[in-house]
Point group: C2
Chain length 404, copies 2
């Protein structure tokens, strides 16, 4: 499988600068916890947000401000989610954008904000004020600063998550760079985590929103760690047009779109691959459904079953757990016309168990980071691909001890 | 809280005999794995079954045979679920009822069957034939045999689960006895586990089915361990009328119904209390919803969140995880009119975090087996109560190692 996040030199889109600062929001004062992403020119900006009914203050604010045509900055803090913080939380989120705007000579409405971390505690606003000032003074358009920004949005992530692509359309080269965070509280009911995608392509805000919503459906909405949809999930796209050329359309738009899919797909898979305590990335393909949404629902039920996740952690080819999880997804299908492959080995065919080399399949699970589950139904052409983590005792340890 | 399953003397309904045998289905040949429950008179019989699309052969068979007016026996094996076993599974389930009928001089249609254990492996029918013969020769109407039957349906359960109640209506005393199994693969989307309720009350099959469906909705359908709905979940009620008197109705039926609720409630709570690896029974009350089904959906989302379960395991009053789980249940509500109590302490009121003594709440979680979560919304009168287990590293160990 692909190696995540080992790249050292990124294709940085033109006209974007980055900073990552340590301002003391996290308990460890040496850890970066405030990021700033700034465009030299106004951007078409789009957002895709959590569908949780309980949403963090920065999500409320960004929803009001996207899509838009003149966004120039995103400020992000980690260590505190600014969620379930009542009216004070809304005031604080707005102040974060106000202070960022002042430091950068922008209007408040040109700034978007994201927060991630513990729920239900007020933001330490003095520290954040200082962090914003420092970050605004340390903006730069190079790999080092981009990576510092990617580090500053991490919580329990083991490594920063970022990637980029460049594509040429005619004489113009467009770059897309994305960064994301997420390792826990990852449920697949919207763009699940924080992520920012920046590009120097030119497009209007409605186009940006359409493209972002489309790509989210097959990337960030197809991942989970434990299935707990966060209050803060946010995916932003900023397009500043600094590569030159006219607004993308037709074949050129298609070329750019494929690169966007690659960037978002790589970032999305990096999240369950870094799932808290995980030892396997599990890829789930569900074929032969009446619709894509049926296939997605089944893949998601399999992905979120603790029994499936623990079986893979134990390198146990206990395929009955997979078939039975599919059965409670709420999607009608004929179990007698169902096949299942586990790491390429057919273990269940037309509703009948097959004799197979369980030791060999177990070894294949144990010795590969990625486990591949492929369920084939016979209801129609619908297909979905989904990624999740396995469930280990280490996940429990991390999450029983996170707060106290 | 109540102490589960420490009773030694049960109120045995008249006219029922029990047996539990070891016939070698489980790997440990000393463990009981075949149970027989037999009525001396024909019973009104009702069943409530899993809503999984992938159902085990015995569920298919029992669904065809209930409700009915002349059932006299239930045969149960543990160690093998006879699920995902194709046509051979259906033949084997039918043969279990056929052999039981022959040993007891009944007709095949008078016998119901349940199986629980590993999915996807053929039943060892020679062992089962021998077990049925032995059990039929060891039937008795006493505590010892009833407890052997309750032990014979266990898989990863740490203790047998059974309870009883007696109630008087006029001159007649009615007894209700129930036994259940379940500790893992417990999801709340139907009667989740195996359970048999026997009573000497008289009623017709439609009444038995109505009463069983009603009680299941507020007991066995309100529990989970990890939320994975099994292929085999079955709840049966057998009423043989041997206590005498006419068919129950009116106030007498109400008295009997309350006792049925107590029996089923106690058995249902015993399942998450014995949840694999669990250290807490978590009781979740959700008030103030537009409907009971809304409240149930929110309670279930909270119950099945690994982040909530690990927080309780770690005695961590991380209430943001509870509120955020409520938010993704798919039920609309106003977060600004939401309160949350954790073991009686108000931690969140009208959408605002409250200052509270986190150390005291943590101690209260750590030192009590039962944790109480109470979420109050402001949408209407709908209420639901739900029970689940916490999630520990031991759960992961049990389920990563169960099969191989």
């Amino acid at each position: 499988m692909e190696k995540f996040m080992e790249k050292t030199s990124m294709a940085l889109p033109m006209g974007f600068r980055f900073a990552g600062q340590a301002c003391g929001i996290k308990q460890d004062p040496s850890r970066l916890d405030l990021a700033l992403i700034v465009s030299d020119a106004p951007c078409a900006a789009a957002g895709v947000y959590t569908q949780n009914r309980v949403v963090a203050a920065p999500v409320v604010l960004d929803r009001q401000r996207t899509p838009a045509g003149d966004v120039q900055a995103v400020v992000v803090n980690s260590g505190n989610a600014n969620a379930c913080t009542g009216e004070q939380g809304m005031i604080d989120a707005q102040r974060m954008t106000q202070w960022t705007a002042e430091a950068l000579s922008l209007r408040e409405e040109q700034v978007l904000v994201m927060s991630t971390g513990i729920i239900g505690q007020p933001l330490p606003m003095e520290k954040i004020a200082r962090g914003i000032q420092q970050a605004a003074q340390h903006l730069a358009a190079n790999d080092e600063h981009q990576q510092a920004a990617a580090r500053a949005i991490m919580t329990t992530d083991k490594a920063p998550k970022y990637t980029s692509r460049s594509v040429s359309v005619g004489d113009t080269t467009y770059s897309i760079l994305g960064m994301a965070k997420g390792a826990g509280m990852i449920g697949p009911n919207m763009a699940t985590m924080l992520a920012v995608i920046v590009t120097d392509a030119r497009m209007d805000p409605d186009r940006a929103q359409f493209e972002l919503s489309q790509v989210a459906d097959v990337t960030f909405n197809c991942i989970s760690v434990e299935g707990h949809t966060s209050t803060n999930d946010t995916l932003l796209l900023l397009a500043n047009g600094r590569a030159g050329g006219v607004a993308l359309q037709g074949d050129g738009l298609g070329v750019w779109r494929r690169a966007l899919h690659e960037v978002c797909g790589e970032l999305a898979r990096a999240i369950p691959n870094d799932g808290e305590g995980s030892t396997h990335l599990i890829q789930i393909d569900v074929d032969g459904c009446a619709s894509r949404s049926d296939a997605h629902a089944i893949a998601r039920a399999i992905a979120n079953s603790p029994l499936v996740k623990t079986a893979i952690a134990g390198a146990d080819p206990n395929w009955g757990r997979i078939v039975s999880a599919a059965g409670y997804a709420g999607v009608p299908f004929d179990p007698q016309a169902t096949d299942l492959l586990l790491n390429g080995t057919l273990v269940y065919q037309n509703g009948q168990p097959l004799a197979f080399d369980a030791a060999a399949v177990s070894t294949s699970i144990r010795t590969n980071r990625q486990t591949e589950i492929h369920l084939k139904l016979s209801e129609g052409p619908g297909h979905a691909r989904f990624w999740t983590s396995d469930l280990t005792a280490e996940y429990v340890r991390i999450n029983a001890d996170y707060h106290t």
